[in-house]
């Protein structure tokens, strides 16, 4: 593969250029990427700000959830204490788990990606800065409102995995559970928005020459992480929707007495929940691999193996979800498959651990702050991994399930696999964003307290679990041998908390955030591009990458980059811009014009949060007003985008010219839409799985679906919808009017087919409240209605752009993306109409 795009790689030899760049170019860059002032900080979209906001908020949630953990440990320090009443304890442990998993762990690693990736890839910013801003504000506002529920006694109390029937209306009649379902469902949407940004960012905005085999391992980790989010999170979004619908409208998805099945929730939850562990672990492992190499002063051993191990972890993690369900009575052979996969997933994790140990062994490791935390992480994570292999064995799991042994295991895995690497990352990368590095002297105390505290807190829990202490109990009786391990655990937890407190003190003393105003620099001697001198626009020029550690291999690189002797030493169009490169070989393809700061992503996030929170407290009018305002804000934010500029091609350095506007499969917008459609497809696929699952497990409640013949007219309409959508793209060259009309016809055809489908099901006499079958059949229709409504909105949006003369010919991204969505909507509708009539036909 000599070239992926027709780009001549010998052109790279023109760099570094020898000419002196004019001073004004740098001033232009500073002006275009200027610092916000006052209220503008709310509307900033640059990754330097959003990344810090994101990380800071995630760390705040870590501290708050940590305090909840300490409250639990205080309550359990001795038998029969009454520090927390039982009901409050239930809320506290639910919030501790939920906040740590959903509001700290995933957002923290996503935040690290937003902050570090553009610098590491030498891009000016991630490709959809406004989407990043929206994802952050949605998460921050939604998360804080969700957390506030504990102060008014409305926090969820059903455990972080919210199993029905405990969380059904019958056993959880208040709105506590609704806070979880709507709050978490909403926050997951923000995680998916971030994942789309990261996938497109890693694959399309790498510095020229940074082929896949030269990509920093952290970028690989973030790529796998984001793909896993796209595959896993739709399952929990569907699950939360179904459970909320069951609670609000009495549709019995999980009610075994009416043809539903509570195990369906467990499948939907854990199809997300177990990959979630690796979703958290992989980016942290990516950070570890970067830091280990620097700490050891040695190139990472087994780069290719680590990349493969990460991808393999991603794959296998989707085959282990049911190991959380070994005690539910699944058939033995099914159990065996999940047991085997659960053991297999330890192989790629082991490859990474051996690679880190080998790198440290052949290098000269320094026992500085990041070094201590990575070594501590290896010890803790390996311990957690070993108990993980133990619980992968079914007979052992039957004994240990829902005991404190599991609590110990999961804390070893998550603290060793994510928290310690994150602290290593804090120490390692804070000099990149702060004028001062953190204190090495205090760091040794922080590490000592955290490492000792962690082990003192969680090691005795193995013993308590094996002695029979169940998890989620607010107290225990004396005389069962549980007093000592619990007291020791409590002492350890406070020691761990003291370590974190000391870290906060260090942050307060030394962390001086100053995006664009200088930083402490490369204090640990890292070899990757984030250590190039940078400002708000990232590096002065974008280097050609020829190795994995360019700063180690070319000591002059930083100076040449700073003098503007590589790609894009100026703003070629006077706007914010970055180079979009090809996904495999990172060959320059076009110049992306990036949107600047805007109040609309912020407004959209506030109103989206308002919509979900108002639904939770049953303020329906306010919810709908918020929802409409959120849609208007999104449309307003999009209105300013997708505008071709007058300069069609520009020189991006050394007389290499690229276009400024590209449409079709090579555009970054097309990629983002495809990923979004994968998300929607996964939600739909999980809904079909739900239908098949209930049909298989509750055949007694199944009745014949409407006849297949009734689907023929729908299929014809959906085929017409696809035809119109495809035609819209091809006729744009001749007439924007007919192109937009074709989109509207397509959306109308899909809506008409949906109407026929609904009439067919309601004519069959099946009611959504009657049985699990009815509930899922109508849920499929509801999903299709959502897709059809969005498709219609997109077609109308294109029509409005057409009226204003904003539809460029012969190709236009807005038309292309609407076409893709319409084709998907029709395909989903046709599949749903067919499959829902085929499942359980014989029943």
């Amino acid at each position: 593969m000599r070239s992926e795009t027709g780009f001549d790689p010998t052109l790279y030899e023109r760099f570094p250029t020898r000419d002196e760049r004019p001073k004004e170019e740098e001033e232009d860059l500073r002006r275009i990427w200027c610092k916000p002032k006052g209220w503008e900080y709310l509307f900033a979209v640059n990754n330097n700000y959003i990344g810090i906001y994101y990380l800071g908020t995630a760390f705040l949630f870590f501290l708050m959830a940590g305090v909840l953990g300490l409250l639990m440990r205080a309550q359990l320090a001795a038998p029969m204490l009454e520090i927390l009443p039982q009901g409050t304890y239930n809320q506290v442990f639910t919030m501790h788990g939920t906040v740590m998993m959903f509001l700290f762990a995933v957002p923290a690693v996503e935040a690290a990606g937003v902050l570090l990736l553009p610098q590491m890839l030498a891009a000016r910013d991630l490709p959809f800065p406004r989407l990043s801003a929206y994802a952050f504000w949605a998460y921050a506002v939604g998360g804080l409102c969700f957390f506030a529920s504990i102060f008014v006694g409305l926090a969820p109390d059903g455990g972080w995995f919210m199993y029905p029937p405990l969380t059904s209306k019958a056993y959880s009649p208040g709105i506590n559970t609704d806070f979880w379902l709507l709050g978490i469902g909403f926050i997951e949407i923000s995680a998916i928005a971030g994942a789309i940004e990261i996938i497109v960012g890693v694959l399309r905005t790498r510095a020229p020459g940074m082929r896949l085999d030269k990509m920093p391992i952290f970028a690989w980790a973030m790529l796998v992480f984001a793909v896993m989010i796209v595959i896993a999170f739709p399952s929990i979004i569907l699950g939360t929707l179904l459970l909320e619908i069951e609670r609000a409208f009495n549709w019995p998805f999980f009610d075994a007495t009416r043809g539903g099945d509570p195990l369906l929730w467990q499948h939907l939850f854990w199809f997300f929940g177990h990959p979630e562990v690796y979703i958290i672990f992989l980016p942290a492992a990516g950070m570890m691999s970067m830091i280990v190499a620097t700490v050891a002063g040695e190139r990472l051993v087994g780069y290719r193996l680590i990349v493969l191990a990460m991808i393999a972890t991603g794959f296998i993690s989707f085959g282990v979800w049911a190991h959380h369900m070994f005690t539910t009575g699944m058939p033995p052979m099914t159990t065996g498959f999940f047991s085997a996969a659960s053991m297999a997933v330890s192989v790629p994790a082991g490859i990474q651990v051996f690679s880190w140990i080998a790198t440290l062994a052949i290098g000269k490791p320094k026992f500085n702050a990041p070094g201590l935390f990575v070594m501590g992480s290896i010890v803790i994570f390996v311990t957690g991994g070993l108990t993980g292999v133990m619980v992968a064995m079914v007979p052992f799991d039957w004994q240990a399930h829902d005991s404190y042994f599991i609590v110990a295991h999961l804390h070893y895995v998550l603290i060793g696999g994510m928290v310690f690497p994150l602290f290593a990352a804090f120490y390692y990368w804070i000099p990149m964003v702060s004028r001062r590095a953190l204190s090495e002297r205090l760091a040794k105390w922080v590490f000592g307290l955290m490492f000792t505290g962690m082990n003192v807190a969680f090691l005795p829990m193995h013993l308590a679990g094996l002695q029979g202490m169940p998890r989620r109990v607010y107290t225990y009786l004396p005389g069962q041998g549980l007093e000592l391990p619990n007291l020791v655990s409590t002492v350890g937890a406070f020691m761990l908390g003291l370590g974190v407190l000391l870290f906060v003190v260090d942050l307060a003393r030394n962390f001086r955030l100053a995006p664009g105003e200088g930083n402490a620099g490369n204090v640990y001697g890292g070899g990757t591009l984030e250590w190039l001198p940078s400002e708000l626009y990232s590096t002065r020029s974008i280097p050609v990458v020829t190795s994995r550690e360019p700063l180690w291999d070319d000591p002059a690189l930083a100076d040449e980059v700073e003098k503007g002797r590589y790609f894009l030493p100026r703003s070629a169009t006077g706007l914010r811009e970055t180079i979009v490169t090809s996904p495999l070989l990172a060959e320059p393809q076009y110049l992306q014009i990036m949107p600047g700061p805007s109040p609309w992503p912020f407004a959209a996030a506030i109103f989206t949060a308002g919509f979900f929170l108002a639904l939770t407290v049953q303020a329906y009018l306010f919810a709908w007003v918020s929802g409409v305002l959120a849609v208007i804000s999104v449309l307003r934010w999009l209105w300013e985008t997708d505008r071709p500029i007058e300069i069609e091609g520009v020189d991006i350095g050394a007389d290499i010219r690229v276009p400024t506007y590209v449409t079709g499969p090579s555009s970054h917008g097309w990629w983002a839409m495809i990923i979004l459609l994968v998300v929607m497809g996964m939600i739909f696929l999980m809904a079909l799985f739900s239908l098949a699952f209930l049909s298989s497990n509750q055949p007694g409640f199944w009745r014949p679906p409407p006849p297949l013949g009734e689907a023929i007219s729908m299929l014809m309409l959906y085929a017409a919808a696809i035809g119109f959508a495809l035609a819209a793209r091809s006729v744009l060259r001749r007439s924007p009017f007919w192109s937009v009309m074709a989109l509207l016809f397509s959306a109308a055809a899909s809506s008409a087919a949906l109407g026929l489908d609904y009439a067919s099901w309601s004519g069959s006499g099946l009611d959504p409240t009657a049985s699990g079958q009815g509930a899922v059949a109508y849920a499929l229709l509801a999903l299709q209605a959502c897709a059809a409504a969005i498709a219609m909105l997109m077609a109308l949006y294109c029509a409005a752009r057409g009226v204003r003369g904003l539809v460029a010919q012969p190709r236009n991204n807005s038309i292309d993306l609407t076409m893709l969505f319409l084709v998907y909507t029709a395909a989903q509708g046709a599949t749903g109409a067919l499959v829902s009539r085929l499942v359980g036909v014989g029943g």
Partner: protein
């Protein structure tokens, strides 16, 4: 897309095999017919992994990226093949 399929071929085959086995057991039970179909699937997918391994190993890469991709693909196919065989063990070992 071709490069991604080459690099991840072994893992994709593992995933196809795992989900086929799961769906067979979840919706078909554990009778002799299901075990035969599972065995057949395993053989076909192991064969596919072996065929892909041979095809990739015969490639003559002309540049460093193609060399990297080839070695990564061979490792993934080896790992995937072993994974498929390991994942099949419950069909042989569990008699209920």
């Amino acid at each position: 897309m071709k490069s991604w399929l080459i690099i991840m071929g072994g893992l994709i085959l593992w995933a196809v095999h795992f989900f086929l086995l799961y769906l067979l057991a979840e919706f078909g039970g554990s009778g002799t017919g299901v075990r035969l179909v599972a065995s057949l699937c395993t053989l076909v997918l192991l064969g596919a992994a072996a065929w892909m391994f041979l095809a990739v190993s015969r490639e003559t890469p002309g540049d460093p990226f193609a060399r990297w991709r080839r070695r990564a693909a061979m490792l993934a196919l080896a790992f995937g093949g072993l994974g498929i065989a390991f994942q099949y063990l419950p069909v042989l070992l569990i008699d209920r």
